[in-house]
C-alpha cells in the first residue's frame, strides 16, 4: 500500500547531489568558457553601446526627424508620421527621453537580430520535415519557460547588462517569427509551385520569387509579433541591468508609484504601437507592390 500512497521519488540526498552536480558542472563550464563567450559577444555589445550613445547624444530634434523619415519611408502615411512625432514629443516632455532612447536602441537591435536569425530558421524549417520536428519543441521551450530560469545561467555566463538582456529578449521574441515564416511558406499553394516548376524555376528562384513573396503576410505578422514581444520583455531585461524604460517600471512596482509606472509603461506601449504600425504599413506596401506588378 505504501507504494501507492507516497510517490516513489528520488531520495533527498540523491536529488541534492543531482542538483549540486548540475550546478557545479555549469560553474565549471562558466569558468572555462565564460570569458570566450563574452569575447564572442563583444562586437555586439560595442554596437549596442554605440547605438545607444548615438541616440542619446544626438540632439533630440535630429533624432525625431530621423525617426519621422524612417516612419515615412516605411509607411508613406503623413498621419502616421505626425502621430510618431507627437508621441516622441510627449515622451520627451514627460522626461523619459533618455530611457526611451536606451529602450529604442536595444529593441531595434533585438528586432534586427531576431529577423536575421528567425526568418532563415523559419525557411529552413519549412523546407525540411526533420528540421521542423527538431525545432518545434525548442520553440515551445523558449516561449513557455519562465524567463528567470534562463536568466540565471545567462547572467552567470555574461554578467549583467545589455548583451544578456538582448539574449533574453530574443529567446522570448524569436519563436513567433520562426513559426509564422515556416507556416507562411508551407501555406503557399502547391499549384503555384507546380506552375513555377513548369516555368523551369530552380529552388532558389522558387524560394525568393514565389514562396517568400506569397508568405509575406505571415512573415510580417511574425515580425510584428517579435517586435511586440521584445517590447514586452523590456521590463524583464531591466531586471538584469538593461538601462531603459524598464528600470523606472521596476522602481514603480516595488514602491507602488502609480504615476511613474503608468508613464513609463505607456511609453513602452507607444513605442510598440509606432513600431507596429510602421512595420505593418511597410509590409502592406511591399505586398501591394508585388500584387501590382504580378500577373493577376
Amino acid at each position: 500500500m505504501d507504494f501507492f500512497d507516497t510517490f516513489p521519488a528520488m531520495d533527498r540526498q540523491g536529488l541534492r547531489d543531482l542538483k549540486k552536480g548540475i550546478d557545479s558542472s555549469f560553474r565549471e563550464f562558466s569558468r572555462s568558457y565564460g570569458e570566450g563567450i563574452e569575447d564572442f559577444f563583444e562586437p555586439l555589445l560595442h554596437f549596442l553601446v554605440w547605438l545607444e550613445k548615438l541616440l542619446i547624444n544626438a540632439p533630440w530634434p535630429v533624432v525625431i526627424v530621423g525617426i519621422a523619415i524612417l516612419a515615412w519611408l516605411g509607411s508613406r502615411s503623413w498621419k502616421l508620421v505626425a502621430g510618431t512625432v507627437i508621441a516622441f514629443l510627449v515622451i520627451g516632455y514627460f522626461g523619459m527621453w533618455k530611457d526611451t532612447m536606451a529602450t529604442l536602441a536595444i529593441i531595434s537591435v533585438a528586432t534586427l537580430l531576431c529577423i536575421s536569425f528567425g526568418i532563415p530558421l523559419g525557411i529552413w524549417m519549412a523546407r525540411s520535415e526533420r528540421v521542423q520536428l527538431a525545432i518545434t519543441p525548442v520553440l515551445d521551450v523558449m516561449q513557455t519557460i519562465p524567463s528567470f530560469v534562463y536568466l540565471i545561467p545567462v547572467v552567470m555566463l555574461l554578467g549583467i547588462g545589455k548583451v544578456p538582456g538582448l539574449i533574453a529578449v530574443c529567446i522570448y521574441a524569436i519563436p513567433p517569427l520562426v513559426r509564422l515564416t515556416n507556416l507562411g511558406i508551407r501555406l503557399v499553394d502547391k499549384e503555384v509551385l507546380e506552375a513555377a516548376d513548369a516555368f523551369g524555376a530552380d529552388n532558389r528562384q522558387k524560394l525568393f520569387g514565389v514562396q517568400i513573396p506569397l508568405a509575406l503576410p505571415n512573415i510580417f505578422a511574425g515580425v510584428n509579433q517579435t517586435i511586440m514581444m521584445s517590447l514586452a520583455m523590456v521590463v524583464i531585461a531591466s531586471m538584469i541591468g538593461v538601462k531603459g524604460l524598464g528600470l523606472p517600471v521596476l522602481r514603480a512596482v516595488s514602491n507602488q508609484y502609480l504615476a511613474l509606472g503608468l508613464l513609463n509603461g505607456l511609453a513602452i506601449v507607444v513605442l510598440a504601437i509606432i513600431f507596429d504600425r510602421v512595420s505593418q504599413a511597410y509590409g502592406r506596401r511591399l505586398q501591394a507592390h508585388r500584387e501590382g506588378t504580378g500577373h493577376d
Binding site: R16, K20, R27, S30, R31, G34, E35, E38, L45, V49, F148, L151, I152, V155, M156, L157, G159, I160, G161, K162, S238, M239, I240, G241, V242, K243, G246, L247, P248, L250, R251, A252, V253, S254, N255, Q256
Partner: protein, 366 residues
C-alpha cells in the same frame, strides 16, 4: 536575500506604519495602564509564590522570522533553552513587522531573536521606555549590515586597497563592460530603499568625477548574479551587498571600510536615504549601522531567569553565521537541522553562552 527583501519591505513600510502606530498607541496606552496594573499584581503574586522556581522557565514562545539567519537563531535558542534550561519552546512563524506588533501589543511571542530595529525604532523605543519590551543583547550576530564589498581575490591581489577611498582611485581595476574606460560600481536593485542611499553616496564620494559608473543591477537576481559571476571567475567586483547572507559566506566577500567616519544622523536620515532632489549636499559617510537586537517581553524578562541570562550572552560571530547560511543553502537545510549542525560544530562558541551544567545537558542531548 530574505534579509534584503525584508529590509526593503521595512524601508517602505516604516512611514505608513509609524503613522498607523501613532493612533494605535493612544489606544494602547490606555489599555496598557489597565493591563500593567493587573499584570503587576499577578506578577507580584507569582514571583513571591514561585521565587525558587527559576530553574524552570516554563513555556516560551519565540518568533521564527522568515529569513534564514533568523530561522537559525530561533532554532539554536530553542534547542539550548529546551535541553539546557528545561523550557518548553514554541516557535511562531513571523516577520519583522507582524512579530514586533504582536509582541508590542499582545506580549506574544516572548522572544524575537533577530529583530532589525531600523523599521521599528520609534515604537520599540517607546515600548522599552514603558517597560513592555526589553532588549537583552545588541547585535546577536556580529558584523552584520549593509555596505560595499569586494571579493577576497581582489583583496589578496591588491592589499593596498583597504578602504572605499583607496578603491575609488582605481576605477581601472573594475572596468565597466559597456565602457572599459570607466569603473563599475554595482549598486542596489531598482526600487529598493538602498538604491537612494547608494545613489547619494555615489554623489557624495564624487564617484562620477573619479571615473565610475553606477550600475543598476535591476533586481536581486541581477545583483546576486553579477557578484557570483565575478567571485566564481576571479574577476574584480565592487558593489553593494549585505550580511549575514549565504552569498557573502559562500564567496567570503570582504566588507570595505569606507575610509570616512559615519557623518552623522542628520546627514544620513535627512539626506542620504532621501531622493536625489531632497539631498542637495550629501556628505561622504560610512554606511549607517544596522541595529539588530534580541528583544524579549517584560513577562519573559521577569520569569525567564537563567534563560534570559543566556540570551544576553548569545552572540554569533558574523563569519560563523555566514558559513552556517552557506551550509543551509547547500544542504537545503531548515533552521532545525542547521541548529543541530551549529551546536555540533561550534561547541567552543556556544559553551561560553551557557552554564557548564546546561552545556553538559545540551551535549548529552545532541
Amino acid at each position: 536575500m530574505m534579509i534584503g527583501k525584508s529590509l526593503l519591505a521595512i524601508m517602505f513600510n516604516v512611514h505608513k506604519f509609524v503613522l498607523m502606530l501613532k493612533e494605535e498607541f493612544e489606544l494602547m496606552r490606555k489599555l496598557f495602564i489597565g493591563l500593567a496594573v493587573a499584570s503587576s499584581a499577578l506578577l507580584g503574586l507569582s514571583t513571591s509564590a514561585f521565587s525558587g522556581a527559576h530553574a524552570k522557565c516554563g513555556d516560551v514562545t519565540m518568533a521564527e522570522m522568515n529569513w534564514a539567519s533568523a530561522e537559525l537563531m530561533a532554532n539554536i535558542d530553542k534547542v539550548i533553552l529546551e535541553e539546557g534550561y528545561g523550557c518548553k519552546v514554541e516557535l511562531v512563524a513571523g516577520a519583522t513587522m507582524p512579530s514586533f506588533t504582536s509582541m508590542n501589543e499582545k506580549g506574544q511571542p516572548d522572544v524575537a531573536a533577530e529583530l532589525w530595529i531600523n523599521a521599528v525604532r520609534n515604537p520599540l523605543n517607546k515600548a522599552m521606555k514603558e517597560g513592555r519590551l526589553h532588549s537583552v543583547v545588541e547585535g546577536p550576530i556580529t558584523e552584520l549590515g549593509e555596505g560595499w564589498w569586494i571579493p577576497p581575490h581582489t583583496r589578496k591581489k591588491h592589499p593596498e586597497l583597504k578602504t572605499v577611498l583607496d578603491i575609488l582611485k582605481r576605477p581601472d581595476l573594475f572596468p565597466h563592460s559597456e565602457d572599459k574606460s570607466k569603473g563599475a560600481f554595482v549598486g542596489c536593485p531598482a526600487g529598493w530603499g538602498c538604491q537612494l542611499a547608494n545613489n547619494n553616496l555615489f554623489r557624495a564620494f564624487e564617484m562620477e568625477k573619479k571615473g565610475w559608473v553606477l550600475v543598476d543591477p535591476g533586481s536581486a537576481a541581477g545583483l546576486d548574479g553579477s557578484m557570483s559571476k565575478a567571485a566564481e571567475r576571479g574577476e574584480n567586483w565592487f558593489g553593494y551587498y549585505w550580511a549575514p547572507t549565504a552569498l557573502i559566506g559562500k564567496y567570503n566577500m570582504v566588507p570595505l571600510d569606507f575610509g570616512v567616519p559615519f557623518a552623522g544622523k542628520e546627514n544620513w536620515d535627512g539626506c542620504i536615504v532621501k531622493a536625489e532632489q531632497d539631498c542637495a549636499n550629501p556628505k561622504p559617510s560610512a554606511w549607517t549601522k544596522s541595529e539588530v537586537h534580541t528583544v524579549i517581553t517584560d513577562r519573559f524578562k521577569k520569569e525567564g531567569g537563567a534563560a534570559v541570562t543566556y540570551l544576553t550572552k548569545r552572540i554569533v560571530p558574523g563569519p560563523v553565521m555566514n558559513a552556517m547560511l552557506v551550509f543551509m543553502a547547500d544542504q537545503q537545510a531548515g533552521g532545525a537541522d542547521a541548529a543541530v549542525e551549529f551546536l555540533k560544530k561550534h561547541e567552543a562558541i556556544w559553551s561560553k553562552w551557557v552554564s557548564s551544567d546546561a552545556a553538559k545537558k545540551i551535549k548529552k542531548a545532541l
